[in-house]
Symmetry: C2
């Protein structure tokens, strides 16, 4: 951030009075511009024993597989975000179930949240951001071609819980991994 | 938003190519400025059978009681946010336990998340944003003087679960309430 989005003047990066962290503060109008973590919300969509995955048509991780998920928008609920992203990426209408996994990724200031869900109608097809959409059994899942570590984590917890026939909510953190540069 | 924070030129509010929602887009450099929901993270801090509450010294809801909670900062985990906010508002060091309740509040584009926690040391006192910090039994809780509906909801779910001796994760939504203007 170089300029104040309210008045267009230059900003300084400094600790405002009464605060403890540096913020972008306007040198002219005094507006304090906060930056906060973003939520990415998605769904583990079940169809029988199989799970819906999307092959990414966009960067980052073009060509790798992911759960339908994306940035939560203003004025929606987390469950609405999961349903909207699944409709956009997999053209699939879902019934959103229980919140299942929340993954903090502090080095990129994101929180990823995944719901369990079911196909509300049988159809699905690739949206603009997907090359391919498919249902996978656990043993056929492309574990070595998953796009994001949060997706890998959520899917592992999902199949663990399914084996134990008891789903619980998982809140976990991911540290920086130099191999993946994220 | 009136001006581009990257280059200082004026912005238009329009749907970028390939997008489905209007965004602030720079008329000069083309930068797209996204706005997304913010997370507020806090803790239900247990000390024996009692719960720690803070009386707010700041607006909104000056003088009303709340769980220690606040906006999550970049580069921290949700659990770290809960611990930091409790230290700032109640000068209390906590051991963060399980994620307990997540409340979507779409009309203000916020998601509130509360962890269960325990005092890691016996001491607490009001931080800069609190007038008073105190432990409450369920029957003494100031139900009619709580600052936020999300706090009321989380505390009700907490005591319900405690009566059933089984804590589960709760994901719920709050609709706009004209009486509270939020």
């Amino acid at each position: 951030m170089n300029f104040c989005s309210a008045c267009g003047a230059t900003v300084s990066f400094r600790i405002p009075e009464g605060d403890s962290l540096p913020r972008h503060v306007c040198d002219t109008c005094g507006e304090i511009h906060y930056s906060n973590p973003k939520m990415v919300v998605g769904a583990i969509v079940e169809s029988g024993d199989r799970i819906l995955l999307c092959k990414r048509a966009i960067e980052p991780r073009h060509g790798l597989w992911t759960l339908p998920a994306g940035f939560m928008e203003n004025r929606e609920t987390t469950a609405q975000a999961a349903a909207r992203e699944t409709l956009e990426e997999a053209c699939a209408r879902i019934t959103v179930g229980e919140a299942f996994a929340m993954v903090s990724i502090p080095h990129i200031s994101q929180v990823h949240l995944f719901y369990r869900a079911r196909l509300a109608e049988p159809g699905f097809s690739p949206g603009d951001e997907s090359l391919e959409v498919a249902l996978f059994d656990e043993q056929d899942l492309p574990w070595n071609a998953l796009a994001f570590r949060s997706v890998d984590l959520a899917l592992r917890r999902y199949f663990e819980d399914r084996r134990h026939q008891r789903f619980t909510f998982h809140a976990e953190d991911l540290d920086y991994d130099a191999r993946q540069n994220m």
